[in-house]
């Protein structure tokens, strides 16, 4: 201690080679610690086998007009609804200004007859009702989330309730008229 004080006093400034070494060592240690922490954090992200389950192919031929099916994609339910003329009409004519998350129906359904959305409420992740016959479909004829009361329309757009966003549209591709690949 006395030695370092001597060095400091002799230098005339507050800074010494030793101060530099303290700082450099500290910075090196902190950076190393942060880098060592990353594997411990990143191990919690989806593992490679989880990421591998990325696409799902669905045969659409058995679905009649007005029917809906639920398929699993990445562990999540995906709603596929073959919409009626009335439903398409309703989804296409609503004024965008009335929507909490404005998006035209044409952007959401590549083929107007087929609506494909991830069936996970954008509020807190419940599965909305409206797939099975007899389900409550909400005030806008689409889906109704029973957890916190969000209403979705026939384009899967949020119309009323706490959910902030429309039901997301997954990336999908029609491989033929009756076969779609999701993901």
């Amino acid at each position: 201690m006395a030695d370092s004080e001597d060095i400091r006093a002799g230098d005339g400034h507050g800074e010494t080679r030793r101060d530099f070494l303290y700082l450099a060592t500290g910075a090196f240690g902190a950076a190393g610690g942060a880098i060592a922490l990353w594997p411990l954090i990143h191990q919690m992200s989806p593992a490679r086998d989880t990421l591998a389950l990325a696409t799902t192919e669905v045969d659409l031929s058995p679905i009649e007009v007005g029917q809906s099916i639920t398929v699993v994609w990445q562990g999540k339910p995906v709603f596929i609804r073959r919409r009626t003329e009335a439903e398409i009409e309703e989804a296409g004519t609503v004024a965008l200004d009335d929507l909490p998350d404005p998006q035209p129906d044409a952007e959401r359904a590549r083929k107007p007859e087929w609506l494909i959305v991830v069936g996970v409420c954008t509020h807190l992740g419940c599965i909305p009702k409206g797939q099975a016959t007899g389900d409550r479909k909400g005030e806008y004829g689409g889906w109704f989330c029973p957890c916190h009361g969000s209403h979705y329309d026939t384009s899967g757009r949020i119309r009323k309730g706490p959910a902030p966003k429309n039901l997301p549209v997954p990336s999908y591709e029609f491989l033929s008229d009756s076969l779609v690949r999701i993901g």
């Binding site: 919690m44 989806p46 989880t50 990445q74 509020h123 419940c126 029973p146 916190h148 706490p162």
Partner: protein, 426 residues
Amino acid sequence: MTQPWMKNRLVQWIDYRLPMFSFAEKELIDYPTPRNLSYWWNFGSLAGIVLVIMIVTGIVLAMHYTPHVDHAFDSVERIMRDVNYGWLIRYIHTNGGSAFFIIVYIHIFRGLYYGSYKSPREILWILGVVILLCMMATAFMGYVLPWGQMSFWGATVITNLFSAVPIVGDIIVTWLWGGFTVDNPTLNRFFSLHYLMPFVIVGVVVLHLVSLHQHGSNNPLGIDAKGPQDKIPFHPYYTVKDMFGLSAFLTIFAGFVFFAPNFFGEPENYIPADPLLTPPHIVPEWYFLPYYAILRSITFDIWFLSAKLIGVVLMFGSILVLFLVPWLDRSPVRSARYRPIYKQLFWVLVIDCVVLGWVGGNPPEGIFVIIGQIATLYYFAHFLVLMPLLSVIETPRPLPTSIAEPVLGGGSGPPAAAPQTMEKAQ
């Protein structure tokens, strides 16, 4: 007063090297405690005992539990049906969770009523709020482990809260899940953390106790001890009082464990988790209902902030506001006994929390939305508006001059007389 066993040569030999005996004598036996503590002061030690019960039963349950989505539900049912006394251990553990929250909530409201958070006990109070947060995380993850319908959907709803974080919300949620939904990686990490957290709680409890013993307990009068006549040794006076309270608690607790073990539970959680079917009515465990009501009370956007984000912020804010209580309440008088207006508002807050719990247990429709919004508004108004306001406008009643005075029937008496008698009694 030196304990007789301190004269033992072996005890002395050990104590010279590891001062466990003198520590116990100082902190558990002689520890001077206000002479006027009521039964509301039982709940701290009671919470500590329940924590030990939870750790012991939890370690034993972990010997039979399998943290895998295909086996978790069945392994819990096996504990209930096949493992020797498994039903008993699990029912103690599940009801113990509810008991822990009842006790801790009473403990917190005790602190609020008697101003136990005021100087010099601010850090003691803050550590208590940290313990509450750790308990909530532990209880939430523990509830997921049986992998029933409520486990799964509770986990889904609560982890989705983090998606409200702007920009990085979805990244955080995927990271928490270890996948694209609540799934096996989620269950595994929750099991790991559920096992870890109780020991974190033990650590914070130790700090809580160190901080408590620095200045000693507050008391129903809220005034500082003026001298030795105001305090009595912890043992035997409060050891016996705590033991009596513990007996009363265990009697009631055993009543639930043996006669109504599923009273606090949800029947829905005896249905195995189905990721494609949300139950019609998701409710958290009863001890989370008030926060759930606050979360759901926000049904409207404010400027660019979504209803979801505000709801989440308010829900966490309802706990975080407790951290500020020592500085929101500027009144120099601790105990509500001498604060006529605060005393009434305290009970309004208690009722408000019960109302929030009731709203949280009901579907978010019609009148419940309105009631939930009013109760949420009042909750925050109590802490952020009324508490600071009362510090200014309330005229407190005169405080007694010492703890001993009202206890000894107002007689100022010879101050040293009472403690001397007690020393003899020991």
